[in-house]
C-alpha cells in the first residue's frame, strides 16, 4: 500500500490554507447573517421590541380581549394599536419610575406617529390557517395555549404549539366533533 504523500511544497500549502480559511469565513458569515432576522425589519429600536409587561396590566384588571379583540371577532388576534395604549395612558398614572419611562417611550411613538414593534412569540407556519373564534366559542381559555400570561413580565413561549399540541386536545373532543377536528382540511385548507 502506498502511503499518501503529504503536500510538500510550501507554496501549495499556503494557497490551500488560505483558500480553506476564506471558505470557512464565508460559511460563518453566511450563517451569522441569516440568523439575524432583524435585518429584514425596519425601525427596530436597537434590536428590541417594546418592553411591555403583561403582568402589571392583568393585575390592574385588563381582560385579554380588551387589547386583543380580534381573538373574539376576527380572523387574527392581532396586537393593540398605539392608539389603544395611549387611550388609557394619556390619563392614568403609573407608580414606578421604570414604568413611567416606558410610558414616556410609548408617548414618543404616538407623537411621532410611529408604529410599535413586537416580536412574534406565537407564530404558525403559513400553511396553518388558525382562527381564534371557534376556540373561544368552545370555551377554551387563553391560558390553555398561551400559558399564564398574567404572570409573565415578558411573554415567553409556554408551550411549543406544533401539530401534536393541537391534536392532543382536538382528539379529546366530543365524538361527533372529532372527525372534523382531526381532518387535514380543517386547518390546512
Amino acid at each position: 500500500m502506498i502511503h499518501p504523500q503529504p503536500i510538500q511544497r510550501r507554496g501549495l500549502r499556503l494557497t490551500f490554507g488560505a483558500a480553506l480559511l476564506v471558505f470557512l469565513l464565508m460559511i460563518i458569515a453566511l450563517v451569522l447573517i441569516q440568523q439575524d432576522g432583524a435585518t429584514a425589519a425596519e425601525d427596530l429600536p436597537s434590536g428590541e421590541a417594546f418592553p411591555y409587561n403583561h403582568q402589571k396590566h392583568v393585575a390592574a384588571g385588563v381582560e385579554c380581549v380588551f387589547c386583543h379583540p380580534g381573538a373574539l371577532n376576527g380572523a387574527v388576534a392581532g396586537v393593540p394599536s398605539v392608539q389603544k395604549c395611549v387611550g388609557c395612558h394619556q390619563n392614568i398614572q403609573v407608580t414606578s419610575t421604570e414604568g413611567q419611562a416606558n410610558v414616556d417611550l410609548l408617548m414618543h411613538y404616538w407623537d411621532a406617529s410611529r408604529p410599535l414593534q413586537w416580536e412574534k412569540t406565537y407564530d404558525q407556519p403559513d400553511f396553518v390557517y388558525f382562527v381564534h373564534r371557534p376556540h373561544i366559542a368552545a370555551g377554551v381559555n387563553c391560558e390553555n395555549c398561551h400559558g399564564d400570561v398574567g404572570q409573565m413580565t415578558v411573554v415567553r413561549l409556554a408551550y411549543r404549539i406544533n401539530m401534536g399540541f393541537c391534536l392532543q386536545c382536538h382528539r379529546r373532543q366530543a365524538p361527533d366533533k372529532v372527525d372534523r377536528l382531526v381532518s387535514c382540511a380543517t386547518c390546512h385548507h
Binding site: 499518501p4 504523500q5 503529504p6 503536500i7 510538500q8 500549502r13 490551500f16 490554507g17 480553506l20 471558505f23 470557512l24 460559511i27 453566511l30 450563517v31 441569516q34 440568523q35 432576522g37 432583524a38 425589519a41 427596530l44 421590541a49 379583540p69 380580534g70 371577532n73 376576527g74 380572523a75 387574527v76 388576534a77 392581532g78 396586537v79 393593540p80 394599536s81 398605539v82 392608539q83 389603544k84 411613538y109 404616538w110 406617529s113 410611529r114 408604529p115 410599535l116 414593534q117 413586537w118 416580536e119 412574534k120 407564530d123
Partner: protein
C-alpha cells in the same frame, strides 16, 4: 501550518466544511424571527384579517360605473363592479380596476405645495393647508373677479355644482370643462346634436340591447366610446339572441377596432365620409321604399349614391346591400361616433346619421334612439362639456392678459391640446396658476400652487353618468382614510367661500363636503324614511337610482324635412405632401393619456395589436411596402403642425391611405410610469377649431411618413411567426 496537510486530510476538511454549510442552511429557517407592527391608529371599521366592501363610483372616465372596493386592514385591495348598480351591474373595465394604482401611486403629492423655484423647475415646497388657503383667498380678494378662470376636465357632478356656484357668485368667467377623451368621443358634438335636432341638450341613448341591426359610424362602443361597460353589456344582451336573433353589427370606420373585429361586417370607408354614407343609405331606403312609408323624404333630394360611392370608396352595390340589411329587421339603430363630427361639416354629418334612425322610424322605439329623462331636480346632471372652440377662446384671453388667476382641476391641457394651440405660451401671461391635481402632470408642473385633491377612492361625492337609461346618481365615499395630507377640492372651495363671505358664502353655506352632500342628496329621500337611514342606504348601495327604465322618445324635428347636402371632404392640406389620413383613437387602457401613470394599464396589451408601453403607427402592408418600411422600423410622422416618431406596426386592418396611432403616451411628467414612454400624436393636429361644430377636427388630420433608418422592437404579446405579410427581408 505546523501539521502537514495530506490530500486525505484536505478532502476530509472540504467535506466537513461543505456539510456544515448545508446544515447551517437547514437551521436558518427555524431560527427566523417575525415581527409584528401595531397600527398607530387602526382603521375605524373592520378587524384585523377581516375584509369589508365599500360601494363607491369609478371616476376614471365620465361613464360613472358603480364599484365596490375590498378593504382589509385599512388598505384597499381590489375593485370590482357594484352588482346593484344599474349602469354596469357588477361589470367593470380595466381602467376602473386599475384605479387602485391612482390611490397608491408612489408619485402622488402628499401635501399642498408651492413651486418656489419657478414654473417648470420642479422645485416644490410643502405648505400647511391654512397657509395655502390664506394665500389663495388673498389672491381672490385682490384680483378682478372677471379675470378668474376655471378649466375643468374629468369633473364629478357634485364638484361641478360647487364650481359653477362658486364662479357665478364670484362674478368670474364661465368655467370650461374639456378633456381630450371627450373630444375624441365627440361628446360635446353629440349633446349639441341632440339639442339642435331634438331640442334637448342631452346625450342620446342608443338601445343596442334590443336592436336587431346596429350600424355604428365610428363609435367604438366596445372599447372606449362614452360608456363602454354599459354598451358592452347591451351588446352582450343583443348577442344572446332574443327569439333566435343574434343581431347584426356593421362598423363603418377606416381602421379595424375591437368593435369592428366583433362586428359582423367592417366597412372601411374613407375618413370624413361617414355622413355621406349615412345619407346614401337613407336615400336608397327612401327611393326604393324599403322602410315602409317615410314622411320626410325631402332630406335626401340632393344625395347622389354614385357620388357617395366615389367619395367614400364603398361601391354602390355595397351601399345597396347594406341598406337592405339595415331594413332587414324591425329594430335598427345608427350610431354617430366621434369621427363623424371631427371633420368639417360635422353638424350635417351627425344629422345624416340621426336621419337614418328617423327614416326607419326608430326614434323612441325599442332598439332605436332615446333621450334620457331630465332630473327635475336642480344640480343632478352630468357636467356640461365645452367645445374646443371655447377652450381656444380661453387661450386667447389668457394670451391677451385677460386672465389673472387660473384654476385647473382634472384637465391636462399641456398634454391634451396640440402644442401649437398655444396653451403653454398663453400660460406665461397668467400671473397665478393653481392646480388641484393629485399628481404632477405636465400642466401642474407649470402651476404656482398645487392643492392636491383626494384621489377618487379617498373622496366623497356623487356623479350622474354620461349615459344612463334611467335616473342614476352614483354615490362616492372614501374607502380608506386619506393616506396623505390632501384635501377635497370641494372642501377647499367651501372654505374659500366662507372666508371670502358675501354672495359666495350665501350660495355655498356648507361647512364641509359631507354636510353639503347630505343636504343636497336629501332631496331624493323617500317620505317616511329618516335622513340617517337614507344617508346610510346611500352609502351602502352606492348611490340612488330608479329601479325601472326611464327614457323619453325624441321628438321628430322639422329639420329632417329639409334637403341635406354634404360635400365630400376635401383633400385639405396638400395631398402630395401629406398623403395619408391620420386616424387617432383613444387607447383602451390609457384612454386619452390619463391612465399612463398606472403600470397595470401600461402593461395591458392593446386588444388589436397586443402592444404595451409604446406608441406605434399602424400601416397597411401594401403601404408599408411602398414606403419601404417594415415592422419595428422607427418612422417620423410629419404633419403641417408638427412631427413625432413612432414604431411601425404593419396592420392589415386599415385602409391603404390611412395610418392610425393610439393616443395616450408621450408624457413628459405625470409620474415614473408615464414619463418618457412613446410619443403624443396630438402634436400632429392642426389647432384650428372647426367653424361649424367648434370641435378639434382630429379626423381631418393628414401626415407624411419618413423612415429614419432606426429600429426598435415593439413590446408585443403576439408572435409574428407565420404571418405572411410580415415576411420581408430578414432583419
Amino acid at each position: 501550518m505546523s501539521k502537514r496537510v495530506t490530500r486525505r486530510d484536505f478532502l476530509k476538511m472540504s467535506a466537513v466544511t461543505a456539510a456544515t454549510s448545508v446544515v447551517s442552511g437547514c437551521t436558518v429557517n427555524l431560527q427566523r424571527t417575525e415581527y409584528l407592527e401595531s397600527y398607530v391608529e387602526p382603521p375605524e371599521e373592520g378587524l384585523p384579517g377581516e375584509n369589508l366592501w365599500y360601494a363607491s363610483t369609478c371616476r376614471q372616465c365620465a361613464a360613472g360605473c358603480g364599484i365596490i372596493v375590498r378593504v382589509g386592514g385599512g388598505r384597499a385591495h381590489k375593485i370590482e363592479g357594484n352588482p346593484l348598480h344599474p349602469l354596469n351591474r357588477g361589470k367593470l373595465c380595466a381602467r376602473g380596476q386599475a384605479a387602485l394604482q391612482e390611490l397608491y401611486d408612489p408619485d402622488r403629492l402628499r401635501n399642498a405645495v408651492r413651486q418656489t423655484g419657478g414654473r417648470g423647475t420642479q422645485q416644490f415646497e410643502p405648505l400647511y393647508w391654512e397657509d395655502a388657503l390664506a394665500l389663495l383667498a388673498g389672491k381672490l380678494r385682490h384680483v378682478d373677479p372677471a379675470t378668474v378662470a376655471f378649466l375643468g376636465g374629468n369633473l364629478s357632478s357634485h364638484l361641478w355644482l360647487v364650481v359653477k356656484r362658486f364662479m357665478k357668485a364670484l362674478g368670474a368667467r364661465k368655467p370650461e370643462v374639456y378633456t381630450l377623451g371627450d373630444e375624441l368621443e365627440g361628446r360635446q358634438a353629440l349633446i349639441r346634436g341632440g339639442e339642435q335636432l331634438f331640442g334637448v341638450p342631452a346625450m342620446p341613448i342608443f338601445d343596442i340591447a334590443h336592436a336587431d341591426v346596429v350600424f355604428s359610424f365610428g363609435a367604438n362602443f366596445l372599447e372606449t366610446w362614452l360608456s363602454p361597460v354599459y354598451y358592452s353589456r347591451a351588446y352582450a344582451q343583443m348577442r344572446r339572441g332574443q327569439l333566435g336573433n343574434r343581431g347584426y353589427v356593421v362598423q363603418f370606420e377606416p381602421r379595424l377596432s375591437s368593435t369592428a373585429a366583433s362586428a359582423d361586417e367592417w366597412v372601411a370607408l374613407r375618413p370624413g365620409t361617414e355622413g355621406l354614407v349615412a345619407l346614401a343609405l337613407g336615400k336608397i331606403i327612401v327611393e326604393e321604399g324599403l322602410g315602409g312609408d317615410s314622411p320626410f323624404t325631402a332630406l335626401y333630394d340632393q344625395v347622389s349614391v354614385a357620388e357617395v360611392a366615389g367619395a367614400s370608396g364603398v361601391p354602390a352595390e355595397e351601399l345597396e346591400r347594406l341598406a337592405r340589411i339595415f331594413v332587414g329587421a324591425p329594430g335598427q339603430v345608427a350610431i354617430p361616433g366621434g369621427a363623424v363630427t371631427a371633420h368639417g361639416h360635422g353638424t350635417a354629418a351627425s344629422m345624416a346619421v340621426h336621419a337614418l334612425n328617423h327614416t326607419v322610424a326608430q326614434l323612441g322605439q325599442p332598439g332605436g334612439v332615446y333621450l334620457p329623462v331630465e332630473a327635475d331636480v336642480y344640480g343632478f346632471a352630468p357636467p356640461p362639456v365645452s367645445t374646443y372652440a371655447d377652450v381656444c377662446a380661453l387661450i386667447e384671453d389668457m394670451a391677451a392678459g385677460r386672465v389673472k388667476l387660473l384654476l385647473i382641476h382634472g384637465a391636462n391641457p399641456l398634454f391634451e391640446l396640440p402644442v401649437t394651440a398655444g396653451f403653454g405660451e398663453a400660460l406665461a401671461n397668467v400671473p397665478f396658476v393653481v392646480s388641484f391635481s393629485p399628481t404632477i402632470d405636465e400642466t401642474a408642473a407649470r402651476a404656482d400652487l398645487i392643492l392636491p385633491d383626494h384621489p377618487n377612492l379617498e373622496g366623497w361625492g356623487y356623479h350622474v353618468p354620461a349615459v344612463a337609461d334611467r335616473l342614476v346618481i352614483s354615490g362616492q365615499q372614501p374607502v380608506i382614510q386619506p393616506l396623505y395630507d390632501t384635501r377635497a377640492t370641494v372642501d377647499v372651495l367651501l372654505a374659500l367661500a366662507q372666508e371670502l363671505g358675501g354672495d359666495l358664502s350665501r350660495t355655498l353655506p356648507w361647512p364641509n363636503e359631507v354636510e353639503f352632500l347630505k343636504e343636497v342628496t336629501a332631496v331624493w329621500q323617500e317620505t317616511g324614511t329618516s335622513a340617517e337611514s337614507f344617508w346610510a342606504g346611500w352609502r351602502r348601495r352606492g348611490g340612488f337610482w330608479s329601479e325601472s327604465e326611464q327614457v323619453r322618445a325624441p321628438s321628430i324635428s322639422e329639420q329632417f324635412d329639409v334637403p341635406l347636402a354634404l360635400t365630400a371632404p376635401g383633400s385639405g392640406d396638400d395631398p402630395v405632401d401629406y398623403p395619408f389620413h391620420l386616424h387617432l383613437y383613444p387607447s383602451i387602457s390609457l384612454f386619452d393619456g390619463r391612465g399612463a401613470n398606472k403600470s397595470w394599464l401600461q402593461e395591458t396589451p392593446d386588444p388589436m395589436t397586443t402592444v404595451s408601453w409604446q406608441t406605434w403607427i399602424e400601416i397597411h402592408p401594401h403601404t408599408a411596402e411602398r414606403l419601404g418600411v417594415q415592422d419595428n422600423d422607427i418612422v417620423r410622422v410629419i404633419s403641417p403642425a408638427g412631427e413625432v416618431e413612432a414604431i411601425v406596426y404593419v396592420y392589415p386592418g386599415i385602409r391603404e391611405d390611412v395610418v392610425a396611432m393610439p393616443v395616450g403616451q408621450g408624457h413628459e411628467d405625470y409620474g415614473r410610469y408615464a414619463q418618457g414612454q412613446g410619443s403624443n400624436p396630438v402634436r400632429l393636429l392642426v389647432p384650428t377649431a372647426d367653424e361649424d361644430t367648434g370641435t378639434l377636427p382630429w379626423a381631418a388630420a393628414r401626415v407624411q411618413i419618413t423612415p429614419t433608418g432606426r429600429r426598435r422592437s415593439l413590446a408585443r404579446l403576439e408572435s409574428p411567426e407565420g404571418v405572411t405579410f410580415l415576411r420581408g427581408p430578414e432583419h
